[in-house]
């Protein structure tokens, strides 16, 4: 089953066409990861799944309806996005930022409800930031801040959540923490997740479904075992590597070849 699909879409910005003709289906209830070298159109594809980037040709559909024809708040109750490098307003507290995520559920003159309070509390619990609730966002570390942003997206309570390079700028322990959080959201609460990740091995470990892109085209889709192969790593990333089973998770592990004498 798939609720969210891109159907023959041309994607790009004012004067540059990034993807000429892409079609993808996002499997429901799965953790999908988009991988590919820099400037291959991964973030563009992810943005096309929101209202941020209307396709110049083709369609992007949610439940068979075009995203761009849906009422904006209705769409925002179905699909959430954690953009790359969001900036918090000066002097905002964690709880107030997380509350921003409730916007699509609130009406103009009824700005607060017990449902909002429960959702904000749950989002902070899921990301482990409840103890930071009353603190100023400016005072937090990078890892804590990324968890706060994640909580904003979670407070939105969307069944589908898109994450644009959520691990960038995080150190490795925070990267793992965030990916574990994504995995538990997906496994326990059945969220459909789509993330753009840079690290192939992390993608292979955590993804149920991988979309590999190169030069604006989708070159392979499927389970990590099907997609992450020596020939794909070589053709897409231009890296000569061995792919061996990860001794911990059993997923494919990419080990670049060592061109020197050992």
């Amino acid at each position: 089953m798939t609720r969210l699909t891109v159907d023959g879409a041309a994607l790009g910005y004012a004067d540059t066409l990034v993807c000429e003709d892409v079609s993808v289906q996002i499997p429901d209830g799965a953790f999908t990861v988009i991988v590919g070298p820099n400037a291959c159109g991964k973030s563009t594809l992810l943005k096309s799944l929101t209202r941020l980037l209307p396709p110049t040709r083709g369609r992007v559909l949610l439940d068979g309806r075009s995203l761009h024809e849906m009422p904006t708040k209705q769409l925002a109750r179905e699909v959430g996005l954690l953009p790359q490098g969001p900036v918090a307003p000066d002097g905002i507290r964690v709880v107030d930022l997380v509350t921003r995520g409730r916007y699509p559920h609130q009406r103009l003159f009824a700005p607060w409800s017990p449902e909002d309070e429960t959702a904000v509390g749950e989002a902070m619990d899921a990301t482990g930031i409840r103890h930071l609730s009353g603190r100023l966002v400016d005072e937090l570390s990078g890892g804590q801040r990324q968890r706060v942003w994640m909580a904003v997206a979670l407070a939105q309570q969307t069944p589908i959540l898109l994450l644009d390079e959520p691990t960038t700028y995080l150190d490795v322990s925070h990267q793992i923490e965030l990916l574990e959080l994504c995995r538990s959201l997906n496994r326990r609460q059945g969220h459909t997740l789509v993330a753009v990740l840079h690290d192939l091995n992390q993608a292979a470990r955590y993804a149920d479904h991988i979309i590999a892109m190169k030069d604006g085209e989708v070159v392979a889709t499927g389970s990590p075992g099907e997609v992450i192969t020596e020939s794909l790593v070589s053709s897409v990333f231009g890296v000569d590597a061995r792919v061996i089973p990860d001794p911990e998770s059993g997923s494919p592990l990419v080990v670049p070849r060592w061109p020197h004498a050992v």
């Binding site: 943005k47 209202r51 953009p83 790359q84 307003p89 964690v94 709880v95 699509p104 009824a110 009353g134």
Partner: protein, 350 residues
């Protein structure tokens, strides 16, 4: 229901199980205090000046039991002027808050980016070149302000997107050009006309009557209500365009509405009493610092704006009883110092 630590006192208004709205306790206390101060200041302004009146006489006059002289002084001269200061102070402050939020920069206020200079240009064209009366001058100022706003937005937008710093730089440049146009128009006029126009250009609350107050009140009511309705969507804008879009915000619609409301509030105030700077620039920043809010606190901002303009007007009238100053001179003097401090602080942050 879960207990959430808000990091401050939050009051729940409405039924216990389903509060309608959460009110920041600090913000409430501060707003109430400012409004009490405004009332005290208003009573002081009613009673003092060239004719000294006791507070009891003033209150009796307000209740309709004063003699002819005090009735004229209190009801016809002083009351509309005080109310006008309170109303336009709030309008200017809200306009400033809207533009600072839109540009994401404390310098992005309508008095800095040229809208008031443009209003003055419009007024000068009508007063000195076309020879219009006071109603025509208002229309001219309104047109000048709105036209300048259009020009600044047109020159600073790229692909339809409004960028903060670019807007401010373009605005300052347009403002400087219009200021020299204004000087040029003034130089072509006769001395009497130039003095009258110069007085208007200094921003003056003297001679405010009930009809002008009523016009300003009706004109601004719509914009004030719209600003209140727009406050939450504008707070959402603070998390950036991508996130705001993902949260279901129609970003373009909110930006355009904010511009229309912000320009409307400033243009209306300027058309009524002439350019009064500093209120729009400083009130939002003072308000957010004292309530410790995260950027957009419209209630406290309006209260601070009203307070500042009323205070400036009282100072302007009392500083030298024989020759009262236009209020704009007072706000410009204080504003200059504040502006300098702000520039230095912004410079240090980079």
């Amino acid at each position: 229901m879960t207990d959430i630590d808000f990091g401050r006192r939050v009051l729940r208004v409405g039924p216990r199980s389903r509060p309608l709205i959460l009110v920041d306790a600090r913000s409430l206390v501060i707003c109430t205090s400012i409004w009490i101060a405004i009332v005290v200041l208003a009573v002081y302004a009613l009673c003092t000046g060239s004719a000294q009146i006791t507070p009891w006489e003033a209150l009796a006059t307000l209740a309709g039991r004063g003699d002819d002289y005090t009735t004229m002084v209190v009801l016809e001269w002083r009351a509309p002027r005080i109310l006008m200061a309170v109303l336009l102070g709030a309008c200017l402050a809200l306009s400033g808050a809207i533009f600072q939020n839109l540009t994401g920069n404390p310098l992005g206020s309508p008095d800095v980016i040229g809208f008031q200079t443009g209003s003055y240009t419009g007024a000068l064209v009508v007063m000195l070149l076309l020879g219009g009366g006071s109603a025509a001058t208002m229309v001219g100022a309104l047109t000048g302000g709105v036209a300048t706003a259009f020009l600044v937005f047109f020159l600073s937008s790229r692909r339809g997107a409004v960028r903060g710093v670019r807007l401010i730089i373009v605005g300052i440049a347009v403002s400087a050009m219009l200021a020299s146009v204004n000087v040029w128009i003034l130089l072509t006029a006769t001395v009497e006309d130039a003095i009258m126009a110069g007085l208007w250009g200094a921003g003056n609350l003297s001679g405010v009557s009930w009809p002008t107050f009523a016009t300003a009140l009706f004109g601004s009511a719509l914009f004030l209500v719209a600003a209140a309705a727009l406050s939450r969507p504008m707070r959402i804008m603070q998390v950036g365009m991508p996130f705001a879009t993902a949260l279901g915000q129609n970003v373009r619609l909110v930006q355009v509405s904010a511009i229309v409301i912000g320009v409307g509030l400033t243009a209306l105030a300027t058309a009524t009493v002439g350019p009064i700077s500093f209120i729009a620039l400083a009130a939002p920043q003072i308000a957010r610092r004292i309530v410790r809010s995260d950027g957009l606190a419209l209630g406290p901002t309006a209260a601070v704006g009203s307070m500042l303009l009323l205070l400036a007007d009282v100072v302007a009238q009392r500083i030298h009883p024989d020759s009262p100053l236009p209020v704009g001179i007072v706000t410009v003097s204080i504003g200059g110092l504040y502006f300098l401090w702000l520039l230095l602080r912004e410079g240090k942050k980079r």
